[in-house]
Symmetry: C2
Subunit: 135 residues, 2 copies
DNA sequence: ATAAAAATGATAATCATTATTATTTTTATA
DNA sequence: TATAAAAATAATAATGATTATCATTTTTAT
């Protein structure tokens, strides 16, 4: 509740470009890369620049509004609320699937984070996805 | 014991370049990047090519002999035995510090991995390191 | 010994990301 | 409301890590 108010106050100060970048990430369920975000933004803001997308991604990450999905290979992939879920990543094609933390795992992870005074964590499991296995 | 025999059998078949790359990673305690590995290899093999380093890093990763430290920012950083420890990464400068899994955490993680038939996992905690905080 | 396969060195190409710069937009203040 | 300073933007050039290419050398299998 408090968090949501904070978000809205801050978002009110966002420029239209910055808000567009953030909204795209929030709406897309595929952990988009910068160029995917760029293409999505262009649907509503046709002349937005790719540099603007990168600049705002950096800014939003700095502000803690978004994070990167780590270890997916090639390009950087962006996501919101990284603390609430982890990922299963295909070690062949880089496909990313969300996975909810089993409660026991989340409790232990949160305990380690807080016990050592660390700010956050990111966990990825790996396997070879069904599609890549049949090739 | 069994593992060590397997390793040695395989290593006997490695070319001198490939072996050099692997040994450098095993000996360095700093999670080296490709160019650090390249510079280290040049001390014993002065005319080794950077392309050879990259080629062998890719090969060794494919063979499961080494892995990458994920989410450290800029360059790829390499490491061996990723399953046995996790990392604390500075979110400002990318410094990587090894961290042993608390036994309870390792048990839960292994349980999730095996229970879901996944091959491995990688966990990173983040904070701002002492040096970056005092700036 | 020798032909096929694999590895290498040198270097060019790629391509995601960052830097630059001139211009436009926003903000703060008189 | 003007207006000067600050911030954001579009366009594009530059950067730099990684990958691809290719001619040559080394290894492997027969």
């Amino acid at each position: 509740m408090f968090f949501s108010v904070t978000m809205n106050m801050q978002m009110a100060n966002f420029s239209s470009r910055r808000q567009a970048v953030l909204e795209v990430i929030q709406k897309m369920r595929c952990h988009p890369s910068a160029d995917m975000i760029y293409e999505e933004c262009r649907k509503t803001i046709p002349n937005i620049s790719l540099a603007t997308v990168y600049r705002n991604l950096a800014y939003l990450e700095e502000q803690g509004e978004l994070g990167r999905v780590i270890g997916a290979g090639e390009k950087e992939r962006y996501d919101v609320e990284l603390d609430t879920h982890c990922h299963v990543i295909c070690d062949k094609c880089g496909r990313i699937v969300d996975m909810n933390y089993p409660q026991e795992l989340k409790d232990v992870l949160d305990g380690c984070r807080d016990g050592m005074g660390l700010s956050r964590y990111a966990l990825s499991f790996y396997n070879t996805c069904e599609e890549c296995r049949h090739k």
